[in-house]
């Protein structure tokens, strides 16, 4: 655990905080010391000046009186008055203080020696006035400040170590859980997810992102598995038929018969290749790799091209196909895939809606959404089966006899999902209406939201 990033961070932060407290203490102590010394000097100087003033106005007798009185006041400064022939009054007299500021030693009544900082002012006519105070008063205040900071320092270090331990233990535990989950996934447990506490913090968000990544990967794997199953299951039938046809060719007599059989076999192979290519295409679309190549595409223009391509064939079959809608409906997407999507929808409608069907392709813009729809007036799709028609190889019971590989609409579904579009199947009374809604296409240049 102590090798973990969180422990290193905690240690680093504790050290940084402890250093800050030390620095703060040093600065405070220094400032306090200066302020106290300054104040001390000012007080002593003011007292000296007051007494000197008294001497000038009242004379030496009054000063002597004042010194004696002030000495008796509790908590007062120390005083001294030396005359030309020795000490006159005050505890500081007769200690030989030089003129100006100095620190002298004063004997207390109990025998202790006190250090006193004094200001000695010479008065005319040989007198000398001394005012001072004990140094230890300032030292006591400074000691208190220092002590306070010592406790603060100890507090910061203890809290830092304790809090850091708790913090790094929690973080370490969460990382360990994530690592364990990731290891389990590596070992093959693809349903395992990284635990999310629900606190919404950055680790939770990270876990959420990981889990969504895993969801995406497992859906891709499912799709891959699905494709393999589909190939195994649905290509076996046509391959078996092809094999039988080729086997039969061996025993055929005339070259004409053989040629016909080979033509048939080629058609079978082409059909198998078509199915294979459609499956691969669906898988590629589902992988989402095409999203990188999205450009602005005009859905209305695409619809018109598709209608224009299919209208003659529809007419020949007695059906009608037309386009309705806006002039231009710009969305961001893959032009080739969207074309194929429209072609598949139109072919599907024409194929299943019956001989006299009328099919309408519409493209329009409503607010921020673009929509394209294909509506037919054929027999429609029962409600229960509507979602299933987008599954691979799914075919309605009554459509089994019409040609088709059951992959056209599966590809439509995949392309719609790639573009973040929703598919709505509604009863056109009669018939089926397939509508695709592309959300938030505000200016046609913003990339489609990821699915």
């Amino acid at each position: 655990m102590f090798r973990s990033t969180s422990a290193r961070f905690a240690t680093l932060y504790t050290a940084a905080f402890a250093f800050s407290v030390l620095l703060l203490g040093a600065i405070t102590l220094w400032t306090t010391h200066n302020a106290l010394a300054h104040q001390f000097d000012r007080r002593v100087r003011a007292e000296s000046q007051a007494l000197v003033q008294e001497y000038r106005t009242e004379g030496i007798e009054d000063v002597l009186q004042a010194v004696r009185e002030r000495e008796r006041t509790k908590g007062a400064l120390f005083y001294g008055l030396d005359g030309p022939r020795g000490s006159l009054a005050g505890r500081l007299s007769g200690l030989g203080a030089a003129s100006g500021w100095s620190t002298i030693r004063m004997k207390e009544a109990d025998g202790d020696v006190e250090r006193v900082r004094v200001l000695a002012t010479p008065l005319p006519t040989g007198y000398r006035l001394i005012v001072g105070d004990a140094v230890k008063r300032n030292e006591a205040i400074e000691a208190t400040v220092l002590e306070g900071f010592c406790w603060a320092f100890i507090g910061v270090v203890v809290l830092g170590i304790f809090g850091g331990y708790r913090f790094s233990r929690d973080v370490h535990r969460r990382f360990a859980n994530m690592t364990a989950a990731a290891d389990a996934i590596i070992q093959g447990d693809f349903n395992r997810r990284i635990p999310v506490l629900g606190s919404g913090d950055d680790l939770d968000r990270l876990a959420g992102v990981f889990n969504r990544t895993l969801d995406r990967i497992s859906s891709l794997m499912d799709s891959l598995r699905q494709v393999s199953n589909d190939i195994a299951h649905d290509l076996r039938t046509p391959l078996t038929r092809l094999r039988q046809r080729l086997e039969a060719t061996r025993n055929m007599g005339t070259p004409a018969e053989q040629e016909a059989a080979i033509e048939g076999a080629l058609r079978d192979v082409d059909a198998i290749l078509d199915t294979f290519s459609a499956l691969l295409r669906i898988a590629q679309v589902e992988s989402g790799a095409r999203r990188a190549a999205f450009r602005t595409v005009d859905l209305a223009a695409l619809s018109r091209t598709v209608v224009d391509a299919f209208a003659p064939s529809a007419e020949d079959a007695g059906q009608a196909l037309r386009f309705e809608g806006d002039d231009a409906v710009a969305i961001t997407g893959d032009r080739e895939l969207l074309t194929q999507m429209l072609v598949n929808l139109v072919e599907n409608a024409l194929r299943h809606a019956g001989p006299r069907a009328r099919v309408v392709v519409q493209a329009s813009r409503t607010g921020d959404d673009a929509a394209v729809s294909v509506t037919d007036d054929g027999p429609g799709v029962p409600e229960a089966e509507r979602t299933r028609i987008f599954d691979r190889f799914y075919r309605l019971e009554r459509s089994r006899s019409t040609p088709g590989d059951g992959l056209g609409l599966a590809l439509v579904g995949a392309i719609a999902r790639l573009h973040g579009a929703t598919i709505e199947l509604t009863d056109a009374q009669p018939g089926l209406r397939v509508a695709l809604r592309f959300p938030n296409v505000t200016d046609g240049s913003t990339p489609a939201k990821s699915v």
Partner: protein
Amino acid sequence: MKLLIVEDDADGAAYLAKALCAAGHTVDHAPAGREGLMLAAGEAYDVIVLDRMLPQLDGLAILRTIRASGVKTPVLLLTALGGIDDRVEGLEAGGDDYLVKPFAMAELLARVNALARRPPPQEQATLLEIADLRLDRLARSVTRGGARIDLQPREFQLLEFLMRHAGRVVTRTMLLENIWDFHFDPKTNIVETHMSRLRAKVDRGHVQELIHTVRGAGYCLRGPD
């Protein structure tokens, strides 16, 4: 025509070479990228058929190199089934056409012929003329034997494409790609329907048919020999 096939699959290459020789072409074969690059840069070919997936040197890398060295020979790229991004990449790298494997031999022959610049194509001409059929690309008008033919815009595009490739086979997929920009095969016979309408307008009432169906391959517009 003189063709170069760059293809690593020996059986496939031999089959291709045989079919192309049978169609009257001279064929060189390079089994790997390096030989292909050397031959493509050194010899004068009419068309290069280049497989996208090659050992050693990737097909697209070869294509970029020969284009960078100033070789303008048309290149037909062969791409693997299902690679839906391959076409754009291939064309951006300097390819002129692409074909998805597996393909019908008739398709390959038609595309090789369409790519070859010999005889010079009438691509820049504003007036295309085959026999008594005239197409004016600027006026967007078509006449046959002096009589005006009214065509829908798509039909005009179709006829223009056929006339630009006059005398050569044009396949269904070539038409789907060039006229409708459909790079997949619809299940419906839309090409046949459009062609039969065009044919009705161009050939009906004339003794000499200009639009011919080439069985198993596609269509060909040609005048009397």
